[in-house]
Symmetry: C2
Amino acid sequence: MHRETGYKPPRSWRTWLIGRPLPTADAPHQTIGKFIGLAVFASDALSSTAYATQEMLVVLAVLGTMAYDFVFPLSLAIVVLLAIVTLSYEQTIHAYPNGGGSYIVSRENLGIWPARIAGAALLTDYILTVAVSVSSGVAQIISAYPVLFPWRVWLSVGCILFIMLVNLRGIKESGATFAIPTYYFILAMYAMVGVGLFRYLTGALGIVQDPPPLEVLHMGQGLSAFLILRAFASGTAALTGVEAISNGVPAFKEPRSRNAGITLIIMSSILGSLLLGISFLSAYVQAVPSEAETVISQLARTAYGGRGLFYMLTISATTIILILAANTAFADFPRLSAFMARDNLLPRQMTFRGSRLVFSRGIVTLAVLASALIVIFNASVTRLIPLYAIGVFFSFTLSQAGMARRWWKVGHLRPGEEVRERSSVLRYDPAWRIKMAINGFGAFCTGVVMIIFAVTKFVDGAWVVVLVIPGMVAMFTAIETHYRHVAQRLSLEHYGAPPRIARHRVILPISGVHRGTLAALRYARTLSDDITAVHVSIDPEEAEKVRRKWEVWGDGVRLVVLESPYRLYIEPLLEYIDEVHRQRQPNEVITVVVPEFVSHHWWSGLLHARAAVTLRAALLFHKDLVITSVPYQID
Amino acid sequence: MHRETGYKPPRSWRTWLIGRPLPTADAPHQTIGKFIGLAVFASDALSSTAYATQEMLVVLAVLGTMAYDFVFPLSLAIVVLLAIVTLSYEQTIHAYPNGGGSYIVSRENLGIWPARIAGAALLTDYILTVAVSVSSGVAQIISAYPVLFPWRVWLSVGCILFIMLVNLRGIKESGATFAIPTYYFILAMYAMVGVGLFRYLTGALGIVQDPPPLEVLHMGQGLSAFLILRAFASGTAALTGVEAISNGVPAFKEPRSRNAGITLIIMSSILGSLLLGISFLSAYVQAVPSEAETVISQLARTAYGGRGLFYMLTISATTIILILAANTAFADFPRLSAFMARDNLLPRQMTFRGSRLVFSRGIVTLAVLASALIVIFNASVTRLIPLYAIGVFFSFTLSQAGMARRWWKVGHLRPGEEVRERSSVLRYDPAWRIKMAINGFGAFCTGVVMIIFAVTKFVDGAWVVVLVIPGMVAMFTAIETHYRHVAQRLSLEHYGAPPRIARHRVILPISGVHRGTLAALRYARTLSDDITAVHVSIDPEEAEKVRRKWEVWGDGVRLVVLESPYRLYIEPLLEYIDEVHRQRQPNEVITVVVPEFVSHHWWSGLLHARAAVTLRAALLFHKDLVITSVPYQID
């Protein structure tokens, strides 16, 4: 018999909050095009243009004005790295049309342990992205309105909850909601860079007026290869978020690989050009890295010649994009956890699509974890930042190494041969050598950056990540082992069905003789004729009363009175049940029928002993023993 | 069949903490004599000698040295009131040999509402006694070791937990443990008063050297009747705790009324004589009421001529008795709540005697509530004190009014006539008029003191008590109504037993076909032949797999597949069960058999959906519907 349930979820406060539920058949309509896709997946990556140049200048500050000679060349190098990473992910997107973040690529090409490590690194990183980006956006708001300082934690948590709610409404809706601010930011940045370059070309661009005081972090160091390398590593913060699209391919409209690939290339082009423009102009106007005023702010007021309307628009766009960077993590974290849950590395519930066809449990989990992080670290960006970025570069490295390995496999196929892997199809490609070289070089570069990060930021807090990732891998492994164990124990392979149950005994614990007891007795009658009522006696007078009443109402069923000299109720009963259970024959089953009266008052549970719950917990591991509570409604 | 369980509670950490369990038959041995009884029940009352004189001086301070003329006469008046109250309670003890605090006396003589109010006032007061006395004891320790100040809350909570544990060991043990410090305090006080009087008589007693600065609370007031009345009311703090013995009569050895009565008289004599001695000497040495140094401390160093060993012994005794005053509340609160629970005014669980034959749930409840109060009020005596004492005098008033009413009833009996009430036997007494007059006058005096307290301390926090007592009375009434309602609905009077169940249908929800499912099916077979397996399908492929497997393993049982377009699991199942339930015939019962696999890992519950729990909660109020989960052990 097969039938569709007429059940349609009723309107409720949830409908009001996240919209009416969508049937599964609507899934293909819940995909996004390139325009919305860019808004959803690019906000994380693009937000980094707001701080990447400044990060480089902070390290280079010790060189004095010489610093400005290095910023643009370093940015060029970062853009080259960006191009390599983009190329790699573009290939990944076409190779893994169902989503191919580092986790999938590592799983298919490097084995289960690298895949688990990549998954742990990415999940950690998404949580940190949300915590860091929202905290830094709120920090910007607070530097404008210092009166809000005491509420910064709740302001941050509020932002996260808002982004969570919009994401629970579905990817299409969150994309549409957040597209306007994202494009507003892109426009504002291009306008600033454009005006700056125009004034530079016309010779009208000066240097920063009244720059903030210079803060030199690492005094006494001169120019060295290590310094340049550290500045480069700091600048590569610009690359965080580039991997986002590769995970989210299934969110795109068909042809999804093509759409996702084009979106990736557009995103990287915007990111690269903005980074180059901002770095070039920042060096020219001699912006000073400072906690008091950001480089972007100095650049904007120099380009626009003061703190006018356009300056304000630029600064507000920066603040909004910092908070919205969290949205990219909300698009990817739930999807990745669903991938991993399908592989039994996370609770299966994560694969469940909510009423709006998004992985709602992943969205809520991300919001809860990121909020917890913000509360623990008191919304302090300085304390959160060192935890960040290692995970990104770890997963970059694994992903590119995986792709390199894939090209190697592809190169060793015969032309025309086709190998189907779980998420990808391998075909011979004559250009495999050059592709492998690109990915291998990318893996090398991102690996070096990761090591620089880990070494230079270890004491600042990066050790937390170094502890957390193995911890998460251990958790994945435990979950996987558990599911495998369960599946094995439940499997019907080589399973001979057990013989039918021949005998059914019923034990009926009674604390008194009343309508609830009789309802349970009436039910017990339908199970078996072999019923024993058991009364645990704490007070002999009470026991005598029960015995006399049972004679009248007990329908001839045997009553056992257990005297309990230590005034215990559950323990003597358990001992009796245990004894009966030990003496049972093969193919005999024992049911304990517990009378339970239920009332509509929520607090009535506090006024009565709840024997059924305790018994069920205590006897859970007895084979062929079932606890049934028979409810008797008294309202 | 009748049998004693061989079950003896095993040794565990509880044995180590509170001693081996005692069988019910040991109860008569768990009673105490006069010597221990005085220690248990007197510590609260006697501790008030440590501050009663000071309380009077604080009010009288505005009169300057004239204050000292009033202290002794006022103390004499308080001792007269004490005598009246003592006389009243002595009579109560003989009239109510099973314990006759204000609650019982009010219930028997004034009706249920005064009884509930008395119960609420007493319970509140016991909780406050613990919170106030422990806080003030800890405050004394802190004034000696200010370094402990930041830990005062945890120090106080620690003291409460210690007293709780000793009380859980049984009344005999707690009495023995706390007898030494109590008698040490009595000795120390008599020694101080004795030495002081001796030096007074020999003319060697001077006035206080270097007294602390005087703090006048109510400037600008002159001598007035109201001032004297307020000083009197403040001094009556000495009476708190006098009612303790009347509640605890059953804790005494037989003849218990006699033993309890003698203990009460000894206690009042000690209390009265110490109060008179301390007041007389304090006035003579011109002790100054001050937050910086207590009157007792000034008196002790004047009597002993300096801060020597004897001074230290006196001060330490005072500190200890303040903390131990809580012990009296621990003896009475659990007993009173058991009385009230027997009358269905509190959860029945309060009548349960723990492994050491004390009302352990009452003891734990008191410790938890008092600790909560200390945490909320930050262990501040000043903020807790105003809540205190109203309850005591309220219950004094009710108790004496009840006794007066009792004498009136006694006076209207014929000589030789005997009327049995629930807790007492009434016999004609020719002296009823004078006894009624004594109790009536006592009720009037304590009533006046209560009103003075309520008026003068209302804004300081007494309004809390004025709100809490009606709230508690409302709670008692709600609980009583609930129990009465349940008893009525469960009663077998005028109850025709329902006909036997004729038809039994089984619904078996399955999410997959595995050994757990088959175990549930095997069990369902013993219940009925009318079984329907139900699979809620979220994914059509999965449903097809289940269908095919069921054909092999389903033993011919019908399978219904419910398609769930909104990816919901519980709701379509509930709808289906509801439909079957609506169509059931009379005398038909439906059992939902839920397969459930269980694992020894505590966290495995997080990794699997728990359908049985949700279904049970959702279907609790369906008549003739039982939910059974059949556990399948996978470890």
